[in-house]
Amino acid sequence: MSETTDDAIVLDAVPYQDRHQIVTVLTAQHGLIRGVLRGARGGKHPLAAATQLLSKVRLTIWRSPNAELATYRSIELERPSFALAETIERSAAASAIAELFVTFCPPEEAAPRHYRLANAVTAALLEGLDSGALVAYTGLWILALGGLLPELDVCSSCGAPLGDTFHLTSGEAHPVCETCAPPGSPLVDVRAAAFLRRSLSTSPAAMAAAPAPPGAARWLDRLIVAEAARRLKALEFFRKTVSNGR
């Protein structure tokens, strides 16, 4: 049995029994954790503000070896997330981003890079930067951290270096050069290719100063859905919300 204290980003909170919540968080030391926060339900409690989507908290976590759920002994709100609810796009993006972490983060193992990603993306979202670019950025990095992002600089078929644009294999799984491209294969244009490559070495705040090129977001969505092997409903809701708003 062990007690640890860690910063965490809240990814999900659902009612548990009468007055408690099961809260899923992302921490640097232990990755994804699901645990019970007693007394967090019922609005009157200040804890209720701490368990909102993507809020940043400091948790004291108690874990016994065989228990399915951890217990949170204390919770302190470090960065509230209510500003996410100022626009529907931002709040839908928050759900989509949380869904990406819940789907792709390794449970119960150290995940400092996932945590830093979640923290930085949430901060950028709270600042009001472009929500579509932040969803795309998160998707790209989630794939990269999981070793699931295809090589963006060389042709997956012949190994030749790729230029400013590239094509995709059938099924859109991998980038290929013009020579290796199957007939009618989609082209990732200059802006989309640059966004994808630059995101790998640039902060989310810098990448989200402008919207993501549609070609980049579309391809990332395809890769993510293929890897998740299930419907990502929050991502779907985000796409629908953004297209309805225009």
């Binding site: 009468d18 200040p46 503000a49 993507l54 209510f82 709040s91 759900s95 869904e99 809701f237």
Partner: protein, 199 residues
């Protein structure tokens, strides 16, 4: 040796599933039911038996009701120019008890929760838009809960109501009456100060 007769053990299992009832309370309730006048237990059993079959959702506003349309929707004295949208039908009970509201209601039966696959189609949002579109309302108060998901639901509905000629508002949020300013959590306090009113 477990001396509790089977009927008692079964009762305890069911009682413990109720919100707020632990082993202790369940045992106290069982003891009471075994010792109080028999008619009381029969009346309780009868009301439990009819609860689900006699209560349904109003086809217009989705409040819980014995008759459809519900008493609010049928009442000619209600203010039919105002509509209060709530997440849960039971919220309307508390609002009625406040005595501060005389308009009509609309229960969404939840809030948007994309992470859990609850989208607009899982709620009564379509029916709400149709009610507003059919005219007569001047104001729609979006009384969803002050959570990120509740706010999101309110924003989503506000956008759908844009084409109609109605004022869309949100109840004020802030410090509980009789409360202590210093004891309020930081988010609520911040909200209360942002939305302060002039005296």
């Amino acid at each position: 040796m477990d001396l509790r007769p089977e009927a008692v053990r079964k009762l305890l299992v069911h009682l413990k599933r109720l919100p707020g009832i632990g082993s202790r309370s369940a045992q106290r309730l069982a003891e009471h039911l075994l010792t109080c006048p028999e008619e009381e237990v029969e009346a309780l059993a009868a009301s439990l038996a009819h609860l689900r079959s006699s209560v349904r959702l109003c086809s217009q506003c989705f409040l819980l009701t014995a008759e459809d349309p519900c008493p609010v929707c049928q009442d000619p004295d209600r203010d039919r120019s105002v509509l209060l949208v709530v997440e849960d039908p039971t919220t309307a009970w508390s609002v009625e008890a406040s005595g501060a509201y005389h308009g009509l209601y609309h229960a969404l039966l939840g809030h948007l929760s994309p992470l859990h696959g609850i989208g607009p189609d899982e709620l009564t949002i379509d029916a709400l838009v149709k009610r507003v579109a059919s005219g007569g309302f001047q104001e729609v108060i979006l009384g969803t809960n002050p959570t990120v998901e509740g706010e999101t639901t309110a924003l989503y509905i506000a956008r759908l109501l844009e084409p109609y000629n109605v004022v869309v508002s949100r109840p004020a949020s802030g410090i509980p009456m009789g409360g202590d300013l210093g004891a309020v959590d930081q988010v609520t306090l911040g909200q209360a100060l942002t939305l302060r009113r002039k005296l």
